[in-house]
Subunit: 139 residues, 3 copies
Amino acid sequence: MNAHTDNFTVRTRGQGTTEITEEVARIVRESGIRTGLCTVFIQHTSASLIIYENADPTARTDLHEYFSRLVPEDEDYFVHTAEGPDDMPSHIRMVLTRTSESIPISAARLTLGTWQGIFLFEHRRAPHTRTIVVSVVGE
Amino acid sequence: MNAHTDNFTVRTRGQGTTEITEEVARIVRESGIRTGLCTVFIQHTSASLIIYENADPTARTDLHEYFSRLVPEDEDYFVHTAEGPDDMPSHIRMVLTRTSESIPISAARLTLGTWQGIFLFEHRRAPHTRTIVVSVVGE
Amino acid sequence: MNAHTDNFTVRTRGQGTTEITEEVARIVRESGIRTGLCTVFIQHTSASLIIYENADPTARTDLHEYFSRLVPEDEDYFVHTAEGPDDMPSHIRMVLTRTSESIPISAARLTLGTWQGIFLFEHRRAPHTRTIVVSVVGE
């Protein structure tokens, strides 16, 4: 039984989703763990993680548009506005998605479904460098 | 210390929630693990998981209705429509709920609260066969 | 390799967020685990967990207001109303946030980012005693 914790960074290009499945799969392979659990964690409060369909990019376009409408920038009751109009919506969009995603490991591989990819969801308008921590536990 | 990964399938009857607590609890019992962590993972991007109140069915009826209004089918900006009007909303509803749920294990049992059950939340209108993967790690 | 499961209670003062990072960090320290995974789980269906910005309290004020508007109390289609007008919204707000949060452990510490704290999100109007279960696995 073993436990590994590793991390990597992703440079985002502003709002949108970036697939990180390969980076996570590499850490799982390097861990040598064949049966267990992989947990992906993002160390930020204005970006988040989702597991999402990775075949048709239009599924991601529509998702981005939905979130821009669900949590608009111009809510007149927002008080937390010192860091710009996209800051408070980014915190809420992060709460409505996930800070961590956990995926079982079987036969030394992530048990993702056929159409599933792991994505970083950047909520700020400006590019950011985001740190992702990956825990692998198992045997 | 041990790690087990198992899976099962659920046949859904279209949109709505199906309790899967017993299937998960059985895998935990069979693992022999007394202290640790159970993670339930769904291998799909148009169905999701929630831990929800399992006593009064009306709490689930109202939840279904809320989600049908929060993410309606007829958004005029949707581009990802090739698989039918219920496909894109199903991806968004999945993102707003969870792909995995993790529950600590103590005294060889899931530490669910009195009113908590684990539910599969089907977002497509047609029945589907959904695969659930369960990881159990601990000792 | 070890596994620990512990718990603690929090007395909430009605709707809002309460930081619980220190209570969780203490359980991680006491576990002696240096590399692994910490999972925080709430045993309730009308309160939830989030990892959120813990520097500026106005980020939490705006979050509370956003959720009170996203899931209002007076939806005329709600059937599950026997426990009061704040009960059904509390279940939905819980589904839209999280029942568990998982954080990798490295160098015997939670790998939280600079501005991240773990918060209990109480959705009922009345004060409640909430039980949090914490699982730590690793080595």
